[in-house]
Symmetry: C2
Subunit: 197 residues, 2 copies
């Protein structure tokens, strides 16, 4: 006996997802086989997401209407754009409740090794927004890793000629962290960025 | 901004699956959002599986036709039934190519702590098959763990009165294993089950 085709097909589809290997994919498939309507619910949720979620044509964040709720909100500071890699980053920043500006979602970070070049990201769209002339500050909030830093450097060079204030999120020790377990780079950055009390 | 409802719904559905926490669920969802038709393919595969896969009413293994290919095969030894917990176990045994009998899939193992009792498994269906009078051997191939052993003990007691030969898979050192890393129970079982060379 071999695995029935619908089973092996579902295992294959699961195994394509990030962080799911062939064993986990098989486990998920056989779990769904036994678990009432979980498979239907998941299939419905997938279809629903694909049908209802679009990208805002201004900031490229995910939304159900275009423009998105943030871009359409007159109470946000449209003169301050926070540039992030992913929609999840917007959610994280919104959770702080402290940022009143608007966003620009690049859709990733520069990664030449994996074939992600400047034209694969929403960089030209960002520059169009900046050339509109109403933006006073760009906050580069790409991830604090190699790709994120490279993307921020690249953007900073592009924005430089427009003479718009360009900032980058602070580096330092994370809250609740333990100094003795901090890595060298974090600790070095924390020293570089030290402030008067 | 809060997460759009279709997104949070898909995150919730993913998070219900075994081994997927809320963070992985969000990562999978945002991956599918960006990845062409992977979401459609997954939704199709799920629907397809639910529509085409049924359980064999003889052995309760998964199949596309009833009875399944193994139960319907006249070349298999229908006098020897191998009892396993899950359809995945059937696949593993079939891969060895060495077993010529038929199967009975219990659909799990006894686990009173998680509320899995004898009536939740296909045990009465197994006893009906055994009382048919044509079975000469039952191989109890439940998992070599606490729940699997308890299930095998329970079955053995039920089958005892039918005076059918009842066996259990051998315990011992796994192939390719390293004696010094074997746990105590495995090593004890390997000594108990030692054979003349």
């Amino acid at each position: 006996m071999t695995t029935p085709e619908p089973i092996s097909r579902l295992i294959e589809e699961f195994a394509k997802l990030p962080g799911i290997g062939p064993k986990s994919a098989a486990r998920l498939t056989f779990y769904l086989l036994r678990s009432g309507n979980a498979a239907e619910n998941l299939a419905d949720a997938l279809t629903d997401m694909r049908q209802r979620i679009i990208f805002c044509t201004t900031c490229f964040n995910i939304t159900e209407q275009n423009p998105c709720a943030i871009c359409a909100n007159p109470n946000r500071e449209h003169s301050c754009i926070c540039v992030v890699e992913e929609p999840l980053d917007v959610l994280a920043i919104e959770r702080t409740g402290g940022f009143k500006g608007v966003y620009h979602v690049l859709g990733g970070a520069l990664n030449p090794l994996e074939g992600v070049m400047a034209e694969d990201l929403k960089i030209s769209e960002l520059l169009v927004r900046l050339r509109g002339g109403k933006v006073e500050e760009v906050i580069l909030a790409t991830n604090p890793n190699l790709e994120g830093d490279a993307t921020a450097m690249y953007l900073q060079r592009q924005i430089h000629s427009l003479s718009i204030r360009t900032t980058r999120l602070a580096r330092g020790l994370p809250m609740g962290g333990d100094l003795e377990y901090a890595d060298e780079v974090t600790l070095t950055r924390a020293f570089e960025g030290r402030r008067e009390m």
